[in-house]
């Protein structure tokens, strides 16, 4: 299969639709559960090791490690570059990001972005999510969309684990992150710790 193909998986049906370079060249129905890659792309070659912490195709089941599969490609690439430059600090990713050049970062980001988001069963509380809902409507939807699935202005945050979301907001609030989204995320300065926790539960629960 040539490079640059996109594989979209329709979740729950076990059916797989393949689109190559935007042209629908064939409909392949695979009656199996799980995902097949048939993938010789640079993105697949380099991203396989990411699964060691982020899960297969970025389906992280953990509380502190974010889901990557189905995430906005620009956000993923920007994030790796921010780790590379130290604009975002995290002890593991600051090391790993040094391994890849700009084109490789782009290929990895495109590969994860081409896969479906997979919700994982990280715990969250309905009572806290309810408190977070009105805060989200007032503060977050403009960039992250009404369902938290992101867009041109911000990454997908719905379905990410509580601990991860709260940590990210706390970092922005503390001003410890200087990456490109920091200006928009100045909005976190007005949030109390309780607000942050409530928002984290709201978005973790919004799947």
């Amino acid at each position: 299969m040539p490079q640059g193909h996109r594989v979209r998986v329709i979740k729950g049906t076990g059916m797989e639709l393949r689109f190559m370079r935007g042209w629908l060249v064939g409909l392949i129905v695979v009656f199996v559960s799980g995902t097949a890659y048939a993938d010789t792309s640079e993105g697949f070659r380099l991203s396989q090791t990411c699964a060691g912490c982020h899960g297969t195709a970025g389906a992280s089941p953990g509380n502190t490690i974010p889901i990557l599969g189905g995430q906005n490609a620009k956000y993923l690439a920007d994030t790796m570059r921010a780790y590379q430059k130290g604009e975002r600090e995290f002890y593991v990713m600051n090391i790993i990001a040094q391994a890849f050049n700009d084109a490789q970062i782009g290929a990895i980001a495109d590969w994860f972005s081409s896969h479906s988001w997979i919700d994982t069963p990280t715990p969250n509380k309905a009572s806290k999510a309810a408190i977070g809902a009105p805060i989200a409507a007032a503060k977050c939807v403009e960039c992250h969309g009404p369902n938290g699935k992101g867009g041109d202005l911000g990454p997908r945050i719905s379905g990410q684990p509580v601990t991860y979301l709260a940590k990210v907001m706390a970092e922005y609030k503390a001003g410890s992150r200087t990456n490109s989204n920091a200006l928009q995320m100045i909005i976190t300065r007005d949030l109390s710790d309780d607000d942050i926790e409530a928002l984290a539960h709201y978005y973790a629960r919004l799947r």
Partner: protein, 430 residues
């Protein structure tokens, strides 16, 4: 392209062209075959970090390849995180994972049996019911403990001084012995000569035993008898934590290989001392599992299996791949014998296996490692590296700048370690 690489490609392609294609283009009636083939088949020996990952990643990339994975145990028990069980932070059930998802999600044929023969000529392996043929074989059998090197470490000795270096009954035994030990007792933990499975493992175990003794068994001590001249992984980070938390509990002795044990008196001997242990954990020196010797994959006098790290083909039998702890790091490059590395090797091996079966050129390997270790019940440390192919050496090498330690010990590292385990178990077995 280097000469080394061309050489294996020639070997690999020859395998596909002659033996491989011929054997799957016709119905297989190989003598003694219990699972006749209808297409290309990969047999994987071992359902651990390397084997399970290889099996799954072959099926992710090419559903036309049948994968038969032969594993002795009925469930997967994780070595990484097993120290947490010994320290009382988790239970065996927390580190046990079913093999069912490999069958139901990926159509892998999981056979619970022991391989007793490998016939590289006929490309078949024997289990108790008969022979299973393969087009390519992936061997990921782990390690064999060299108990014989320690005088008295026979079956009786092992029952008293378990290694607990493959997660299972001995892990639980060690946990129970620590819990049953009276306060003021002496625990002895021995560290083998490197290279061995999981370089930071003994030091993480020492940390978690000490943490448990500190909280639950006042007056107890832990004597660490290290065969090596220093802590061989994350040394400064472990030492700093031990100095901060376990002063008067951990008695760390370098160049102290265990040479003899006496089960009847619970005595552990080095060249310098005879120590009576209330709880003794003897981790012997190691080499590639005996399974590799069924196919002569380990040269005489060598402890590990030489491989070509572009594909993980054995340099002895190119239609057989070896991944995981059994590989010889002097042929792979400077990578540790870790679960993460086994997972990473297996992905390179899976992609190469799919390519070779389909008559394509295997892609350039990319590998990574992150090893998390707890230094207490709440704090962890880590080491990370990303590896690329190095043309000059024909091996994998850490990418400049992309290798390093956590800057200290932190609670977030411990939380990440817990998440990492769940992620990589799901990557192998989910």
């Amino acid at each position: 392209m280097t000469i080394t690489r061309r050489k294996f490609l020639t070997n690999g392609m020859a395998g596909v062209g002659t033996v491989g294609l011929a054997s799957w283009s016709l119905p297989a009636f190989a003598q003694g075959e219990i699972m006749p083939k209808s297409g290309p088949r990969v047999v994987v020996i071992g359902g651990g970090w390397g084997g399970a990952t290889a099996a799954k990643y072959i099926r992710l990339q090419d559903r036309s390849i049948e994968v038969v994975m032969i594993e002795r145990e009925s469930v997967f028990r994780s070595c990484p995180i097993s120290n947490w069980v010994i320290g009382g932070l988790k239970e065996m059930g927390d580190i046990t994972v079913s093999y069912n998802a490999l069958k139901t999600n990926h159509g892998i044929k999981v056979v619970h049996d022991t391989v007793t023969e490998i016939d590289p000529g006929r490309q078949m392996v024997r289990i108790s019911d008969g022979m299973i043929s393969y087009d390519r074989l992936i061997v990921s059998p782990g390690i064999t403990l060299l108990n014989d090197e320690i005088d008295g470490l026979d079956a009786v000795g092992r029952a008293v001084f378990p290694a607990a270096w493959s997660a299972g009954a001995e892990t639980q035994q060690l946990r129970e012995e620590l819990a049953a030990m009276p306060a003021g007792g002496t625990v002895v933990l021995s560290v083998p000569f490197g290279p061995y499975r999981c370089p930071p493992g003994p030091y993480e175990r020492a940390s978690l035993i000490a943490d448990y003794l500190k909280k639950n068994k006042p007056g107890s001590k832990l004597i660490v008898l290290d065969s090596n001249e220093k802590i061989i992984s994350k040394g400064k980070l472990f030492k700093a934590a031990w100095d901060a938390y376990y002063e008067g509990i951990i008695d760390y002795r370098t160049n102290n290989a265990v040479i003899k044990v006496d089960a009847s008196t619970r005595t552990i001997s080095t060249d310098f001392d005879d120590i009576r242990a209330d709880v003794g954990n003897i981790i012997p020196n190691q080499r590639a599992s005996d399974t590799v010797d069924l196919a002569g994959l380990r040269p005489d006098g060598r402890r590990w299996c030489p491989v070509n790290p572009w594909t993980y083909q054995s340099t002895i039998h190119p239609e057989i791949h070896v991944v995981g702890d059994a590989t010889d790091a002097t042929t792979v490059g400077k990578v540790p014998k870790s679960g993460f590395i086994a997972n990473s090797m297996a992905k390179v091996c899976a992609a190469a296996t799919v390519a070779l079966i389909n008559g394509e050129e295997p892609a350039r390997p990319s590998m990574a490692n992150t090893c998390y270790s707890l230094v207490s019940g709440t704090e962890g440390i880590s080491v990370t590296a990303v590896y690329d192919w190095d043309d000059a050496s024909g091996k994998m090498a850490a990418i400049k700048g992309a290798k390093g330690l956590s800057p200290g010990r932190f609670e977030i590292v411990a939380a990440n370690a817990d998440d990492w385990a769940r992620a990589i178990w799901s990557d192998m077995l989910g």
